[in-house]
């Protein structure tokens, strides 16, 4: 379960549409609680991939992630997951996503078109790395 305020969900969707036809990405900052992850802020990141591959890949470099972590720590938050967009594709993780993920983190995917963001789902990797499971988003 991940708790995301309405404003942050809107930010993710807007970021996705803004970056269309490219993939957008960012960090989800918040805290791990007994009930689940609680998002309090999004942290948009520029897609680090070269122009030609931006449409179907995104990459947050470890440097950017560490910068994000430091920012989070300064506000007493942690990185609880990531979001990215799938332009013109379903909001489900690909096998490529599966290869490049860790459990516990939330991976929010938003499906985008030219002028709108459609589906938005959150996914969590199963502990044995075999698949992603849908994760319930509680909008606060």
């Amino acid at each position: 379960m991940i708790f995301v305020p309405k404003q942050q969900l809107t930010e993710i969707r807007e970021h996705g549409v803004r970056d269309y036809p490219y993939e957008c990405c960012g960090l989800l900052l918040g805290s791990y609680t007994a009930e689940g992850k609680v998002v309090t802020e999004t942290y948009p990141i520029s897609n680090a991939r070269e122009e030609s591959a931006k449409r179907n890949r995104f990459l947050i470099t470890p440097d950017e992630l560490m910068r994000g972590e430091r920012y989070a720590a300064s506000r007493d938050l942690e990185v609880v997951g990531f979001y990215h967009s799938h332009p013109d594709s379903p909001a489900v993780p690909s096998n490529y996503d599966l290869e490049h993920a860790w459990p516990t983190y939330s991976y929010i995917i938003v499906s985008t078109r030219e002028d709108e963001a459609t589906d938005l789902f959150s996914w969590e990797q199963q502990e044995d790395r075999s698949r992603f499971n849908p994760e319930e988003i509680q909008c606060q």
Partner: protein, 484 residues
């Protein structure tokens, strides 16, 4: 040298909840090994199956990426800090850089397969795997019909079909891949047209031949999965052995009356058909569907299960019907399941196999012996036309029909007496031993059995078998008698 490793938040649950762990090591690689030996659950999240650090996992030694130093061999000093940081990658469309060169899907295909694509178990990757996959179906009959139609609809890229038969009226009650307009056509042609109509994006290869020990290995090698939709024991053993010898999974199904079976025989992972049934039943003991009948919808259910398992195999799904025999009773509407175990003594997939190449399966199943005349019990036979001629001549003959009453209701030869096979010995006194007796059934098999049983029971009269049964009567003498 003691070094401190910082564990990222999502992985702490695999490290006993700790955020920092101190290990003894001389290099960065040793430090990670020590960490993942103590906390083994961490390992798979850091290393891939080849024991190489996953390409999105970055290891920082005092703020420097070890890839820019000497990698795992980078030496560490007392008091150094190691951080594990992921780089976050992902994306909607899989590129060739991912490794597997799977075919792309066109926009039409994406639209067609959208209900698959939105499930993470399939997704783009899975659908492309299906497009890259090839399946060989043995038979386009009751089981082959749903198997072929669902696999074609699912987008299996290449489907091979093997059959040598033509479409007959009595097929249409269950073989829904063929239609009334196809009567008399070759089954592979009729099936090919139907599959093309279902999905023009796939390739269909037709093999018009009987599957034999001579052609099986060569045929099988061009496909990923073999689906057995045969209705006889010699071919079933042939499919099994050829699958074991070529390392292919055999998606098995069989049907009779209201009962069906399904399993996945894949010797690499579990039992094969011979582990379950080392020897074929004696010929004639297990009746075929032509003799015993089959509920038309039954192959639909069993064949759909075969298609399901084939797709799961291609997608890399778990919980296949490996080492599991599924039994289905359509009349009771019950599924049951048996565990199977690989037999170490199995003659084909066991530890010391005796079958190392394909054999003569007709002989193995006793067909040759069965068909040869048996010296001690010579079976006297008469053809339908001869029988008719003798009746017209006015010979006194009594004709005993050993079929079941419900068959008698469908069609009968005039002037016959019905005594079903199961009662023929008990009601022997109803047959006049002084007169010549003609015994018939649907095709001539059960009547031969009845004659043998009567002789064993000591019946003294003359018994003659009607060759080809009532079917031959309908074909050669009286077409008004319906064939079934």
């Amino acid at each position: 040298m003691p070094v401190t490793i910082t564990i990222p938040a999502p992985l702490r649950q695999f490290a006993g909840g700790q955020s920092q762990i101190i290990v003894e090591a001389n290099t960065a690689g040793e430090a990670l090994n020590s960490l993942t030996t103590t906390h083994s659950a961490l390992r798979r999240h850091l290393f891939n199956d080849q024991n190489v650090l996953r390409n999105f996992v970055n290891v920082y030694l005092n703020d420097e990426d070890i890839r820019h130093a000497s990698g795992p061999d980078t030496p560490v000093k007392d008091g150094d800090t190691i951080m594990i940081v992921p780089s976050i990658a992902g994306g909607a469309v899989v590129e060739s850089e991912v490794g597997q060169e799977l075919p792309e899907l066109s926009n039409e295909e994406i639209m067609r397969y959208s209900r698959h694509l939105i499930m993470p178990e399939v997704g783009m990757q899975g659908q492309r795997r299906m497009k890259a996959a090839s399946v060989l179906m043995i038979g386009t009959g009751g089981l082959g019909a749903p198997v072929g139609m669902y696999l074609a609809a699912a987008g299996i890229g290449r489907i091979g079909i093997v059959d040598f038969d033509v479409v007959e009226e009595s097929n249409l009650q269950r073989q829904i891949i063929h239609g009334t307009k196809d009567l008399g056509r070759r089954k592979i042609e009729s099936a090919r047209d139907r599959l093309r109509d279902i999905n023009p994006h796939i390739e269909i290869e037709t093999h018009e031949s009987r599957l034999t020990s001579q052609n099986a290995m060569q045929l099988f090698q061009n496909y990923d999965v073999i689906v057995d939709g045969t209705d006889n024991f010699p071919t079933r053993y042939l499919v099994n052995d050829a699958c074991v010898l070529s390392g292919k999974p055999n998606v098995y199904g069989s049907i009779f009356r209201f009962e069906g079976q399904a399993s996945v025989f894949w010797a690499e992972k579990g039992a094969c058909y011979r582990c379950l049934y080392p020897e074929p039943p004696p010929p004639g003991l297990v009746p075929s569907c032509a003799e015993g009948g089959v509920l038309g919808v039954l192959p639909g259910i069993v064949g759909a299960i075969q298609a399901n398992e084939t797709i799961k195999f291609i997608l890399g799904g778990e919980d296949l019907l490996i080492n599991r025999l599924l039994l289905f009773d359509a009349w009771a509407m019950k599924f049951r399941e048996f565990k199977l175990r690989k037999d170490p003594k199995c003659p084909v997939c066991g530890e010391n196999p005796t079958v190392t190449k394909l054999i003569d399966y007709e002989e193995f199943c006793g067909m040759a012996a069965h068909q040869a005349p048996q010296p001690d019990t010579k079976l006297e036979e008469i053809s339908a036309t001869e029988l008719n001629a003798r009746r017209l001549r006015g010979d006194t003959l009594q004709i005993i029909d050993v079929r079941e009453p419900h068959e008698f209701e469908i069609a009968r030869i005039p002037g016959t007496k019905l005594i079903p096979l199961g009662h023929v010995v008990g009601r022997m006194n109803e047959i006049d031993p002084e007169a010549e007796t003609i015994v018939h059934c649907k095709g001539g098999v059960r009547s031969a059995k009845a004659i043998a049983a009567l002789k064993r029971a000591g019946f003294q009269g003359r018994l003659v078998n009607l060759k080809g049964g009532i079917t031959a009567w309908s074909e050669d003498v009286d077409p008004r008698v319906p064939k079934y």
